[in-house]
């Protein structure tokens, strides 16, 4: 059976597990209709031209997992940022794992979407924010909404500065054969509140797994959101990540996406501005090899005056890997004095690696500063020679150059443990010891 049909026919079974009388179920039903109408995108769809889905969608994924997949902390410790104190919301095969988690309701709600969707005290927040930012005309988002049931729920009230970061980790065990996961996260950050979040999807076996994730983030006035996505999954894991961020006046939202693993990774990262003096920062480092594919589709929608956006994506592609960068910036007529910058720099290590880079600027205001730059190249031979004359072997010299190339993206990482972790992943990925810490 085709995955699309299978999903449609699984909805009845899904309904038996949720409260179909809750208002949110209307949202699900509507989303299912939308998905049915849209269907999975094909290569004919301009937005999916360079990211073929046919192989992925041919897999016979299980839609529901068994509910008894337990794992020990020591087995998965390496996937946590474990040298600092953090809140943790951990899922195993889509099911919340209380043993690995550390949630709270003191001063902020850091808990589960399943609870928020069913308990009356969250009713208003759910009514106000759930599915209010996500796109209605996107097949994967609609599909996720239709099956929305579990994920992280984070509510940071006004003026609350969360003292420790939150880790959202989705493990898949592979015990159920090929599995499809659809986590749904809702994050609401109140006025002048601050939060740091680290998100990771991690497969624990070589079994195929397909995650279609949707995260909605609302940043109220002067809120600060600092979000890190660590994508370093097994080679049979595919991820479609749909993230929607709505920002209010003078808020600042930053998303760093580190893509080092997985089979197919698609990031749809969308920012919407609701008021003035908003800052949005989108940064990414992609280092992939073999037949891996990483696709970054970004959107910054400038709708109000005096806002800024900064995009900086670096990609390093080896073997026959493929990268896609599609950076869309819309500046509405009202959005005068917008500063929108976009950079995408790429290094192709091997001749057969590919990068498709496309800046897409739609500017309707006349008093703006917008720039974009894109480079595609190989490592500079003169620079390599310079390092080698200092006694640094070719392989290490390449790693050092690659590291230097990606470095300015790491500079803006605010959590030192995350920075050193990413640094280590990069070093491992490049197969060398840099000989020093950052």
């Amino acid at each position: 059976m085709q995955l699309e049909e299978k999903l449609m026919s699984s909805f009845v079974a899904f309904e038996s597990e949720v409260d179909t009388l809750a208002p949110v179920h209307d949202v699900r039903e509507k989303a299912l209709k939308s998905f049915e109408k849209l269907g999975f995108p094909t290569k004919k769809n301009e937005e999916w031209k360079y990211t073929p889905l046919n192989t992925l969608l041919k897999e016979d994924f299980h839609i529901f997992s068994k509910h008894d997949n337990t794992i020990e902390f020591k087995e998965v410790k390496q996937y946590f940022i474990h040298d600092i104190d953090t809140f943790k919301i951990v899922f195993v095969d889509g099911v919340y794992n209380s043993f690995l988690s550390e949630t709270t309701h003191e001063g902020a709600d850091i808990c589960l979407l399943s609870a928020a969707l069913t308990q009356s005290k969250y009713k208003k927040v759910i009514a106000d924010y759930f599915n209010q930012m996500a796109a209605e005309n996107d097949a994967f988002t609609s599909l996720n909404t239709a099956f929305a049931k579990e994920g992280a729920y984070i509510y940071i009230p006004e003026k609350k500065i969360l003292e420790k970061p939150i880790q959202i980790i989705h493990f898949s065990t592979g015990n159920d054969a090929a599995l499809m996961l659809q986590p749904r996260n809702l994050i609401v950050v109140g006025k002048q509140a601050e939060v740091q979040i680290i998100e990771r999807h991690q497969s624990l076996s070589s079994q195929k797994v397909f995650t279609n994730s949707v995260t909605e983030i609302y940043a109220d006035q002067r809120a600060q959101v600092d979000y890190y996505k660590i994508q370093n999954d097994q080679e049979e894991a595919s991820l479609i990540d749909n993230t929607y961020i709505r920002q209010e006046k003078e808020s600042h939202a930053k998303v760093h996406t580190f893509s080092f693993g997985g089979k197919l990774t698609r990031n749809n990262l969308n920012f919407f501005h609701n008021d003035e003096r908003i800052e949005s920062t989108l940064k990414g480092i992609t280092i992939i090899e073999n037949k891996q594919l990483v696709d970054h589709h970004t959107l910054v929608h400038h709708a109000s005056p005096n806002c800024e956006s900064h995009q900086d994506y670096k990609g390093i592609y080896a073997d026959t890997s493929t990268g896609v960068f599609n950076g869309k910036v819309i500046v509405e007529k009202e959005a005068q004095k917008t500063n929108a910058f976009q950079q995408n720099n790429n290094i192709l290590i091997d001749d057969k690696a590919t990068i498709n880079s496309k800046p897409q600027l739609e500017i309707f205001a006349d008093d703006v500063k917008c720039s974009h730059g894109c480079t595609i190249g190989q490592l500079d031979e003169d620079a390599l020679f310079y390092l080698r004359t200092r006694g640094i072997p070719k392989k290490e010299a390449k790693a050092l150059m690659t590291y230097a190339f990606a470095n300015n993206v790491l500079e803006s990482v605010q959590i030192p443990s995350v920075k050193s972790r990413i640094n280590k992943i990069i070093a491992t990925k490049l197969g060398v010891d840099l000989g020093f810490d950052v």
């Binding site: 500079d380 031979e381 003169d382 620079a383 020679f385 310079y386 390092l387 080698r388 004359t389 200092r390 006694g391 640094i392 072997p393 070719k394 290490e396 010299a397 050092l400 150059m401 590291y403 230097a404 470095n407 300015n408 790491l410 500079e411 840099l434 000989g435 020093f436 950052v438």
Partner: protein, 248 residues
Amino acid sequence: MLSIDNLHASVENKSILNGISLDVKAGEVHAIMGPNGSGKSTLSSVIAGSEEYEVTKGTILLNGEDIEELDAESRAHKGIFLSFQYPVEIPGVTVTNFIKTAINASRKAQGLDEMPAKDMLKKIRDKANLLEIDSRFLSRSLNQGFSGGEKKRNEIFQMAMLDPKLAILDETDSGLDIDALRIVANGVNKLRNENNAIVVITHYQRLLDYIVPDFVHVLHEGKIVKSGTKELALELEEKGYDWIKKGA
């Protein structure tokens, strides 16, 4: 120390070096002068092991060992150092981290353990003092935003740290004002001893007022057309390169 015999090298089938012979002994300073395009920088790159050039004929011996088959890093491990005319910028890697990486790479190649952190720090401090380098400079990203003088001083600092047997200084005077030139030259002079050798490549004589050579060679069209002592450099300064070109 360095013995070059009838060296021919080309890039993309274009011959640049056309039979160079040069003998440099420990404790000596040799200057190689010549007009633009005479092959000076090619000679230094070929000695240091650049893969851009193909050696078509001749030999390069370092302490009697043929180094032609060795890659650039192996030559560095054997004690060859090249100071670049245009040093490369490496954002995110500090001067200190870079030199640590370089020193430990050489030690590893020689089967030694990494230099203990304490010894490394002391060495860095000593050599920085020698070259009048401020400690803040050491925590800046390598060559990024450096002035011409800072870049060259940093090259000589690396030379001091790596303690090479043979140092080739390629146009170290270019882009330097007189004060920077004096500091760089003083640094080089302090590093001179009877166990190492220095080859200074320069277009102008002025650097040789500070780093006084034992021998001067004039390169023209990929060949050494004249050799002599330091007086030859003065003669060149006076008469210009046309004098050599006509004679050749």
